[in-house]
């Protein structure tokens, strides 16, 4: 239960930072969504991918379910491919991704998730990791739709984000399917 609460709070804190009006910790947020320029949007995208790769690598060494390990391997492969695309685009455009509050929040949330996951083994790890993947991909999908894609000024950056969207949506559906299969053991 504690893990689940922390997981939800992590996802919501990301959403609260990225999306206006999101309920976080039971409060209504009224501040406007952060205004990000293209180098900052690129940094958020790269950070979001890197975080999921790092957690997937932890899952590859800890998960007991072969399906969860296969999911984690797909996350490493796909998010690495996205970041290669992003790096190639940044080089072509001569843009240096710029750190920002959203990226920092993502990293803080990831560190918290990692601390919690590192205390788990076996089936409880599998369930907590898949819970985290469901919440994280949902948050990233919402961020893409509501902040990152509409906020990107450069057409190539926007096209890249639009290309990434179906991948995130497919990962989310896969994560939900797999999480449901794992059941609710303790």
């Amino acid at each position: 239960m504690t893990i689940r609460l922390i997981r939800n709070c992590t996802a919501l804190s990301l959403l609260a930072l990225l999306l206006p009006g999101t309920l976080a910790y039971g409060q209504t947020r009224t501040a406007a969504a952060p205004s990000l320029n293209d180098p900052q949007i690129a940094h958020v995208a790269v950070t979001a991918n890197a975080i999921d790769i790092e957690l997937a690598q932890l899952a590859l060494s800890r998960a007991s379910s072969s399906e969860v390990r296969a999911f984690a391997q797909t996350m490493v492969t796909d998010h690495t491919a996205v970041n290669e695309q992003a790096a190639a685009l940044a080089r072509r455009l001569g843009v240096t991704p710029e750190d920002n509050d959203v990226s920092r929040s993502l990293r803080d949330g990831a560190a918290e998730a990692r601390r919690n996951l590192e205390g788990l083994r076996g089936a409880p790890f599998d369930r907590a990791y898949m819970d985290r993947e469901v919440a994280y991909h949902q948050a990233v999908l919402d961020a893409l739709d509501q902040v990152l894609i509409p906020g990107a000024s450069n057409s190539e950056l926007r096209a890249l984000l639009e290309q990434v969207r179906p991948a995130v949506a497919a990962h989310l559906d896969h994560a939900k399917q797999l999480r449901a299969k794992l059941g609710e053991g303790r």
């Binding site: 797909t74 491919a81 996205v82 695309q85 179906p166 497919a170 559906d173 399917q177």
Partner: protein, 116 residues
Amino acid sequence: MSRIGKLWPALAVVAVVSAAWLWWSAGAAPERAPRRHVVEIRGFQFVPPALEVAVGDTIVWVNRDFVPHTATAANGGWDSSEIARDGTWSYVVRERGRHEYFCALHPTMAASFTAE
């Protein structure tokens, strides 16, 4: 009766059977040449998601996404293994019926083809 005369009933039977075969084969649907069908994998979807083919046709999957995918039979009968970005894989259809398949890396991606 001459020798030819004795063979006449047998020759008549051969003639009738041959005529019947010619008539049947002329009336039957002509065999069509095997075709090639292309399924594009893009945006984490198989396009088109359903296909009508014939036994002997070839289906070619072309991966337009930036990540690897597979085309894997739901019944385990065939599997492309990983199709890399811009890679292709082809399969010659061998059995009639509806064939469902999915991407083993992203199992929510599913499609089918029906072979006549």
